[in-house]
Symmetry: C2
Subunit: 346 residues, 2 copies
């Protein structure tokens, strides 16, 4: 922690990597936000906070969306702003119910685009079964923001049986790790659009609300021990975070990780490791091994889980680290992302 | 509505005035956000939404803060981001409990400033008795946002007896209108700082969390029929909105409206009507006339209400309009603000 603080003290300025979802983001959260906001208590600034109620618990979360470009194959900033917050609630075991939305719009932004974004938000909210019930709009002078930024906050209800899913406190060696489909699609769709690649990659962002699928697999059983959506920082970051926070070893098998051929191709071409590329419709689920197949089969019946796969397991070895058996038969340690090459991916 | 839509269709682009809190903001909310998000139901996108629960109701609100400058006499963007959302919850009769915060930060922003802002948020939250429990940070390239933007969303609990305060459905002729102190201080403090006025105006923003004072005056009685904080658009906008929405007449008396001499002086000098200038620590309260004095006396015991004043009453005349008896003995209609001269005031 001291070296971290020193690193911040040396840079003295916010770097793009402080928003990457990787190491620098973690340091910023620990050293600035948690330090000042925790107020002596144990409240962590997690993706979703869980609020104790008299008769039930609430989950509460927020994200700001600054994605560039604002329209991309498979989605737009509005769809993303609904999916991201719905998914943050769903992966902590909550049923997402209500969203707020705060718009910061650059002067001169076309109404036509705003209406396209807002109607996309409405459609996505409808699909997810959530209601957008409060909002705010600020307009800033031309050149003082980039087109449009959207914040959504979300409130959901969480049952007592799900309250430990976000922390993964019940995860133990032997548990199986599942992902609901192909990785790296969102990041590569954004990149292809941004770079205006001359050839048609055909890659669509996987941006989707996962709450209905998650509700299906968590209802009526206690098998799900941990879930997290693999957004900024990709699959690798989720696995590194849970391995580190629970001090458990994780083994994954490269051959079992779903990835579409065109996504793999463009990653290879541009030199990106798909393990670290952002997804917006993928959830990592750690489950009791006895129920792993049942949950996998359940997921495959859902459109958003039809390519679901068991990609690895929690092991009683190399605590705090993620190891991957590669397709060519070797083994490598999967590290936490230090920086990120793709700012403004969400 | 049709003319409004036409006006939007003609402009085709977002104007600074769409963020003013005045007429164009109302049109944007009605014609874009409510149109697409209401989804056939009656959900209005009010400042705070009220969520029905099994045993209690929740209030939920959000605001983005883009104030420029980010540090100003009497506060900073962080203090503002906490006060604004706390006050939005409090004026709908809720007890604010939890906040989220979403930061959008420009690459290169100094850590020292970030820490100053974050610690100001922590102090203000502490003072208001709310907890900041979830957050998000995005960093955008230099030149793609202006220093720092902050979104806060807030959740509070609301008792059944207070659930009609936000709509003002029980307001009727004879009710008294109270404000808790001097107007136009926030707007003029920002302007003075922004313009770098050579002389020292001595004006501080009134930015403050009003929830404790409001809790005092709403506890143990049903006298409070409506409350709203007079932010963007000022006192006049709040009065015009309630007069129009409930189709009631409102009379106010200029001589009873508190305003500090230096604030009045700078408004005169620069040609601003203080009725329309933003406040960040002022609430307009409409109360049963039988309890008006008791509530006024209660407010005056609180530091934030010591200059409270009964400024007018609801009348059975000129429905939908606000009339002001001026200090020189005349009478004028107080119109809804068409535009605003002060963008990025909050």
């Amino acid at each position: 922690m001291h070296t971290i603080y020193t690193e911040m003290a040396i840079s003295k300025k916010i770097l793009l990597n402080h928003g990457s979802g990787g190491k620098l983001t973690h340091e910023l959260i620990k050293e600035v936000f948690v330090r000042y906001f925790s107020n002596g208590s144990e409240l962590p600034l997690t993706d979703s906070a869980i609020i104790d109620g008299d008769t039930q618990k609430l989950a509460f979360t927020t994200d700001s969306y600054v994605v560039d470009p604002i329209f991309f194959p498979g989605g737009d900033i509005g769809k993303l702003a609904v999916c991201g917050t719905v998914n943050d609630l769903a992966v902590c075991g909550a049923i997402p119910e209500y969203l707020s939305c705060g718009f910061i719009i650059e002067e001169g932004f076309e109404f036509e685009k705003l209406i396209k974004i807002v109607s996309s938000m409405a459609r996505t909210a409808d699909k997810a079964g959530v209601k957008i019930i409060t909002g705010d709009t600020k307009v800033v002078d031309k050149g003082k923001c980039d087109k449009i930024f959207i914040n959504t906050a979300g409130v959901g209800r969480i049952s007592l049986k799900n309250e430990n899913i976000a922390s993964g406190i019940n995860v133990k060696p032997g548990d199986k790790i599942i992902i609901n489909g192909g990785i790296a699609e969102h990041g590569m769709a954004i990149l292809a659009e941004r770079e205006g690649l001359k050839f048609d990659t055909g890659i669509l962002s996987d941006c989707a609300p996962l709450n209905k699928m998650i509700e299906q697999i968590t209802t009526g059983n206690d098998a799900v021990k941990f879930m997290r959506d693999a957004t900024r920082g990709g699959l690798a970051t989720v696995l590194c975070e849970i391995a580190e926070s629970r001090n458990l070893g994780i083994d994954i098998h490269e051959s079992e990780i779903p990835i579409k051929d065109n996504v793999r191709g463009i990653c290879d071409l541009l030199g990106f490791d798909p393990l670290y590329v952002a997804n917006e419709g993928k959830v990592v689920i750690i489950v009791d091994p006895l129920y792993a197949n049942r949950i996998l089969e359940g997921m495959k019946k859902n459109e958003l889980g039809k390519h679901a796969s068991v990609i690895g397991e929690v092991v009683d070895d190399h605590e705090g680290l993620v190891a991957m058996e590669t397709e060519i038969g070797g083994r490598r340690i999967v590290d936490m992302l230090a920086g990120e090459q793709l700012p403004r991916i969400c």
